[in-house]
């Protein structure tokens, strides 16, 4: 049974009785003195965790603290690509669970997140690239993920606007085709999770910035915020690009580099690009939203920064690379560029779970691949919080792997990770 009315019923009710205010998606609350669990970061990860804590484990005394508005960070700045065709078996298994959750998410959240599994193409421009794609396809297939190597005639069929001609600089030799991959309405994921977490009792506190974390005898006892103090024994740091600023508060150093990642969007166009197209060699990924805009992104900036201003270099580079792939787009106009902040671990894999401080948990190191993991990250961390045990699925991503020299090796793909 659903805890809330069908959204479509609400819509009808609103249509016929607009004088009555609509139900709020999430409410405002006073900060309580104490919460069982405090989640720092009101993005898709933090809100998903709050939701699964309530739904799967009955833990509802939860505060989600967001320094700005919900979804202000990476959740609202990514290019909304969802896929599971990773390189390592650990990565494939983990993201495959995420895709499965995404497939059910509209129904689960009673909110249409518009998950559009329109297929995902990763192009290979060199024979080395073809080998890497084959390597991924094989790992994917062994792990039960729909993924295969395809050749220019099939690529052309799936994406007629791609230039698969024999042009010399970046010829398209093959592609990794991943039919379940696609795009989603990223903000809707945030709002849907926020709504359902709120319905189940979690408190979402926007404009509430964490300024300190209280630790006594190696155990978390509370957090300090711009709106006051909260007592709690469990804190989850789910702050993506700003994760190291939070862990610094408890003197934990993480092997993370903070780098901006940029993206841009064009004016709306009639639909012509069905699949998501990625080129590692050209550092570009591009898709067309349901509104008709082309959303595109590149690899991370070449240097560390917290700046979200964006650069001209990015725009020039991505425009050139998009035209390499789609020469017919030279008259298409860029409407807006933006940037988000990524924290990249050395093995391009997340860091999740326990830390040396009792009660201080992390969900960090999400680099350029965090949004697509939101449901499964939220779900597994909720399980970890509820059971005090690391679920098998995320055991490879534990913090101690760096001490144990047991890195995950997603970096081996050596290409842009979208």
């Amino acid at each position: 049974m659903l805890p809330t009315k069908q959204m479509s019923v609400q819509l009808l009710r609103q249509a016929f009785n607009s004088s009555q205010p609509p139900p709020r998606m999430w409410r405002s609350h006073e900060l309580k003195e104490r919460y069982d669990v405090v989640i720092i970061g009101g993005g898709a990860h933090g809100l998903a965790c709050a939701y699964y804590l309530a739904k799967e484990h009955g833990i509802t005394d939860v505060a989600v603290l967001e320094k700005s508005y919900i979804g202000a960070g990476g959740s609202g700045r990514n290019t909304a690509i969802v896929r599971s065709n990773y390189l390592t078996p650990e990565g494939v298994r983990f993201y495959n669970e995420s895709v499965k959750l995404y497939e059910q998410l509209s129904d689960d959240l009673n909110f249409n997140v518009m998950f559009s599994q329109r297929g995902h193409l990763t192009l290979a421009h060199t024979d080395g690239g073809v080998n890497t794609m084959r390597r991924r396809a094989e790992v994917n297939q062994i792990e039960g993920v729909d993924s295969r190597l395809i050749w220019p005639d099939e690529i052309k069929r799936l994406c007629p606007y791609l230039d698969v001609s024999d042009h010399p600089r970046y010829p398209i030799l093959a592609a990794l085709y991943h039919p379940p991959g696609g795009i989603i309405r990223h903000d809707a994921v945030v709002w849907g999770y926020a709504h359902q977490a709120d319905v189940r009792g979690a408190h979402i506190h926007q404009n509430t910035e964490v300024t300190g974390i209280k630790v006594k005898k190696g155990k978390v006892t509370g957090v300090e915020t711009t709106r006051g103090r909260i007592k709690t024994g469990t804190v989850l740091n789910a702050t993506a690009g700003w994760a190291s600023t939070i862990t610094t508060m408890v003197d934990i150093k993480l092997p993370l580099t903070t780098i901006p990642l940029q993206a841009c969007v064009t004016e709306p166009l009639k639909p012509f690009l069905d699949v998501v197209v990625v080129s590692g060699s050209l550092h570009v990924y591009i898709s067309q939203t349901d509104r008709g805009e082309l959303v595109m992104g590149a690899s991370v900036d070449p240097f560390s920064s917290y700046s979200m201003a964006g650069s001209l270099t990015f725009l020039e580079g991505i425009a050139g690379h998009v035209l390499e792939l789609f020469p017919a787009l030279s008259n298409v106009r860029i409407l807006r560029q933006w940037a988000g902040i990524c924290e990249m671990p050395p093995d391009y894999s997340p860091i999740m779970g326990f830390t040396p401080i009792n009660g201080f948990l992390i969900d960090v190191g999400w680099g350029t691949y965090g949004f697509k993991a939101s449901p499964i990250a939220g779900k597994t961390l909720a399980e970890l919080i509820a059971t005090d045990k690391t679920p098998d699925l995320i055991a490879p991503f534990r913090l101690s792997r760096f001490e144990e020299n047991d890195l995950v090796g997603e970096k081996g793909a050596a290409s842009v990770g979208h």
Partner: protein
């Protein structure tokens, strides 16, 4: 082609007048949706269509409502059309050209009768965000729903055969950039130029002058100083040698360190400046009322643009809705042209109006409704009337006072909002100023200044005076870098309030806040009530300001609505972030010319002439083969072959510091490398991951010659530079000789015999052993010879000056003819090296591979004092390997597993567990076997002959570990 009438009439064209930009002597023709229309050179597409009486130019995004000209300045979405292959063209600013084919966008079946406008009937079920609440179940149908949604969305079309246009870029360097060439901008340019600065003045319009181009006062006696401002300013700017003017050029963005970008058609300007003056003017703000999007509802400045620049009057019966003197200016302007001004509806008290034209208009019998505003635009496809009502003492609308006025043009002149996107990008701060009901810039970083309407100053004489002063301040800053705090910011001259804070008149029809996305004020209220209350959430949920206008038309009104609904002040509500580009810019202009040319070697044409199949290798094109790679490989094994390896990275290092550098960047030992010797080395990064490999030769006393992989040439040059510049550079000079030298590998048992014919150098093994370098003249060209063995045969790498490369190549081919020489390509080389189990960095290794695991422990000297990657490699050495790279041979010689295939082991449940993968594989013609290299768990890899299984097309095939090289394991043939 269909022509509407035989005589192409232009009912809305006025008589010629001064200041217009059209050439009436010439008439050209173009088509709109297949119908031919006349135009004059100088017309925009929209002005010509308006002259011909066309009012509906587009349909709205969601409800497909008819839309006509609104802003006429390229800032709203209402005139977006498709012109040929170009989608989303702003018809109001695009100059019309003879033969242009203009089409309406996103209409079905036609602009006039767009059936998708029926969606309005269901609009109560489609409020803001309706798609989040519908199409959820049954989930299986979502792809179908989505398909439909997708096909009704979008605007212009991309045609698949659109040719890639020609674009270019230009770099500009200057002292002061002025963005915006209105009165303030020109004046600031003059101030800066007179202060000695070099000035670049940019304006998006075809001519300078800003609003003075179309707001010329009618009665020069009333404000005589204004009427001569523009010619004077233009003349002064023209005379000033320090000012360079760029018209039709939009400044797109400000980036860190005063790095600006502007575009003029197909050319992108990249500008470095010391100082910036933002003189971008203001947007006129629409009023939100019932049917406020009806064609025929236009902003005052839009009407004045049409009238003065193009001699086009968009309607003959006019109602003017205003809250300031600007509305009266428009009324007087139209009146002087003989237009019937049906009414002036001014929300102010009579005594608040101080327009110099008031008496004239009133005396001429123009009805004036003070304390009134508009309730509704009447009409279905175009304005047929206006419903107005009185504003009562509590500032509310009194419904009993409603009356209708006949008209076909409603002019909205409610106020302005500064165009401060550029100022925002610089990091400037803005605050809401209650007195003038505007968000005004209050501070900006050093060297950035805001003037004119962008800073809130409207009076032309004040603009000119302030901007001149700030121009000289900007020049001073550019000269000295000093900030004069007192004049760093034009503060917005206090003047009569020009902007009403009444943004929305309630009613019972649709009232649009956002024209791009069809968002109404009720949508905004609903979204806020649902919890999307902050301006940022409201934007993302309603998509207000995310369409083609990027907020130019809707931001200010949205902020007011958001503030009211939340009971916040405008200041508390805040703004969303302005992001580049300020004006949408084509991918072509951003990309410019393709600056990634393909690199070819000096032998390229020879390769083509000899039937080479070329392949991309890094930046280069290389021969993959000349027809039969297996035969090429056998030719090398049995006789002699020649391969062009010119793309190899070639670096020369000179100086006493080189040995120590080599010790640090390679994993093996270098200080003991004597002159004339060559050594193989592996480079790692700090993580101990293999970056590159190659050889380095000690050429003479203080000179070393290094080669890198072809694909890694640039990276390694940069890598070395990085370290040289980070403290390891003392006594070292590094030169990239990659293009200076070409290189060929002459390989095979007969290679010595071939080379001996072309040189006097003693090539006998005793004089020139394996892994040595010698200088020698080959075919009279001074070359460097390296005796190496990547192919496993006796071989000489000939490095010659690239200018003589073809000569040397042809001489070698000629000398080898009697020995059966043949050229060989990359594919044959790969076979040959694989038979020797030599690795290729990047193919057999990836971004996680260390040299110990890659079975190259012999090339890692952990007892060296220090080298890049040592700590990581020490640790790997201590803790043991996780994987090992080894050779394998297939049980079935005819089954060659593709590179990238996985090595698996079924577990207890029969599920496959991945234990390794194939990095290289080939059929060896020499051994008649399928061989390769693969990663395996060390315990398996360490057993020579151990069997394992590779998954090929879903089937498991057996292979066995092989430790020794497949061919000539003792390396005797190298040392022949």
């Amino acid at each position: 082609m269909r022509t509407e009438q035989d005589t192409l009439i232009t009912p809305n064209r006025l008589h010629p007048k001064e200041g217009e930009v059209i050439d009436r002597a010439t008439t050209i023709r173009f088509t709109f949706d297949g119908v031919e229309y006349p135009a004059h050179p100088g017309d925009t597409v929209a002005s010509a269509l308006t002259a011909a009486g066309v009012q509906v130019l587009s349909r709205s995004f969601k409800y497909h409502r008819p839309r006509g000209l609104l802003c006429c300045s390229g800032h709203c979405p209402n005139c977006l059309v498709q012109i040929g292959d170009e989608p989303n063209v702003r018809a109001c600013t695009r100059p019309v050209e003879a033969g242009m084919e203009v089409r309406a966008q996103n209409v079905w079946p036609s602009l006039k009768r767009d059936l998708l406008s029926l969606t309005q009937l269901g609009s109560r079920f489609m409020p803001v965000g309706f798609y989040y609440k519908t199409f959820i179940r049954p989930q299986k149908l979502w792809p179908l729903y989505e398909h439909t949604l997708r096909h009704v969305a979008g605007l212009g079309e991309v045609h698949i055969d659109t040719p890639l246009g020609e674009f270019d870029k230009q770099y500009l360097h200057t002292d002061v950039v002025i963005a915006g060439g209105g009165p303030a901008g020109i004046s600031a340019a003059l101030g800066a130029a007179e202060g000695g600065a070099q000035v670049l003045l940019f304006d998006e319009n075809p001519t300078l002058g800003g609003h003075l181009r179309f707001t010329v006062p009618l009665d020069s006696s009333s404000t005589p100083e204004v009427s001569k401002d523009l010619p004077e300013l233009l003349e002064a700017a023209n005379q000033q040698p320090n000012i360079a003017v760029f018209t039709d050029t939009s400044v797109l963005g400000w980036y860190q360190d005063n790095w600006l970008c502007a575009v003029k058609g197909t050319r992108l300007f990249k500008i470095r400046t010391k100082s910036v003056v933002v003189a971008t003017g203001a947007y006129e703000v629409p009023l939100i009322f019932d049917n406020n999007d009806l064609p025929g509802v236009m902003l005052g400045s839009a009407v004045q643009r049409l009238v003065h620049l193009f001699g086009v009057l968009p309607g003959k019966q006019v109602v003017i809705v205003t809250a300031n003197e600007d509305g009266w200016d428009v009324a007087a302007d139209l009146q002087s042209l003989g237009v019937n001004v049906g009414a002036i509806v001014d929300e102010r008290e009579p005594n608040a109006c101080s327009s110099p034209y008031r008496d004239g208009l009133v005396n001429a019998g123009v009805p004036v409704f003070y304390r009134h505003t508009i309730l509704e635009a009447i009409g279905s496809n175009a304005v047929r009337g206006a419903k107005i009502a009185r504003i009562d003492e509590r500032a509310a609308i009194s419904p009993t006072t409603t009356q209708s006025l006949n008209c076909n043009l409603i002019v909205i002149s409610m106020g302005w909002t500064p165009a401060t996107e550029l100022a925002y990008m610089t990091g400037g701060k803005s605050e809401y100023n209650e007195e003038c009901a505007k968000i005004l810039p209050v501070s900006s970083p050093p060297g950035v200044y805001v003037v004119g309407r962008a800073s809130g100053t409207h009076a032309v004489d004040s603009q000119i005076a302030e901007a001149h002063q700030i121009g000289s301040t900007a020049a001073a800053f550019a000269g000295s870098g000093e900030v004069n705090k007192l004049t760093a910011q034009s503060s917005g001259t206090l003047e009569p309030r020009r902007t009403s804070d009444r943004v929305c008149v309630p009613g019972n029809k649709k009232r649009f806040v956002c024209y791009c996305e069809d968002v109404t004020d009720e949508d905004v209220e609903l979204a806020i009530a649902e919890g999307y209350d902050s301006i940022e959430l409201l934007k993302r949920y309603s998509t207000i300001s995310m369409g083609p206008c990027q907020g130019a038309m809707c931001s200010m009104n949205t902020i007011h609505l958001c503030a009211r609904a939340n009971d916040w002040t405008v200041q508390e509500t805040g703004t969303t972030t302005a992001r580049p580009p300020t004006t949408p810019v084509t991918l072509g202009a951003l990309a410019g010319q393709n600056m990634e040319p393909v690199q070819t070697t000096p032998i390229h044409q020879w390769h083509l002439d000899h039937g080479a199949a070329m392949m991309v290798a890094g930046l280069w094109l290389r021969p993959n083969h000349y027809g039969d790679p297996a035969a090429e490989a056998m030719g090398v094994r049995e006789r002699v072959g020649l391969i062009d390896v010119s793309p190899l990275g070639k670096l020369q290092l000179t100086g006493p510091g080189v040995p120590e550098l080599l010790e640090r960047i390679y994993t093996n030992r270098w200080e003991n490398l004597r002159v004339g010797r060559v050594r193989y080395g592996v480079m790692c990064n700090d993580e101990g991951v293999v970056l590159n490999d190659g050889v380095c030769a000690h050429l003479n006393d203080e000179t070393w010659y290094m080669t890198t992989t072809s694909t890694g040439a640039t990276t390694i040059f940069e890598w070395l530079q990085w370290w040289l510049q980070s403290g390891w550079g003392e006594g070292i000079h590094l030169t990239d000789l990659t293009d200076v030298y070409s290189a060929f590998n002459l390989a095979g048992p007969q290679s010595r015999a071939v080379l001996e014919k072309l040189t006097e150098r003693d090539l006998a093994s005793k004089a020139f052993p394996y892994m040595r370098i010698r200088s020698a003249k080959i075919a009279d060209v001074p070359c460097r010879l390296l005796r190496l063995g990547f192919t496993g045969e006796l071989s000489y790498e000939v490095h010659c000056p690239s200018g003589y490369a073809l000569h040397v190549w042809e001489a070698l081919m000629e000398a080898g003819r009697e020995f059966g020489i043949a050229p060989f390509g990359v594919e044959a080389q790969r076979i040959l090296r694989l038979e020797k189990a030599h690795i290729i960095v990047g193919q057999d290794t990836d971004a996680m591979s260390d040299p110990l695991s890659a079975n190259m422990a012999w090339a890692v000297k952990l007892d060296k004092p220090d080298f890049l990657g040592k700590p990581s490699l020490m640790r790997i050495s201590d803790e043991g390997l996780k994987q090992l790279l080894v050779g394998f041979k297939m049980a079935d010689p005819d089954v060659v597993p593709d590179e990238g295939l996985q090595i698996v082991e079924p577990d207890a449940d029969g599920r496959l567990k991945i234990i390794g993968w194939v990095t290289s594989s080939r059929f060896s013609p020499t051994l008649a076997a399928a061989i390769g290299l693969c990663w395996l768990p060390p315990e398996l890899a360490s057993q020579d002959g151990a069997p394992f299984t590779i998954r090929i097309d879903g089937h498991l095939k057996e292979a066995r570990v092989q430790h020794s090289a497949f061919y000539d394991p003792d390396g005797e043939r190298l040392r022949m």
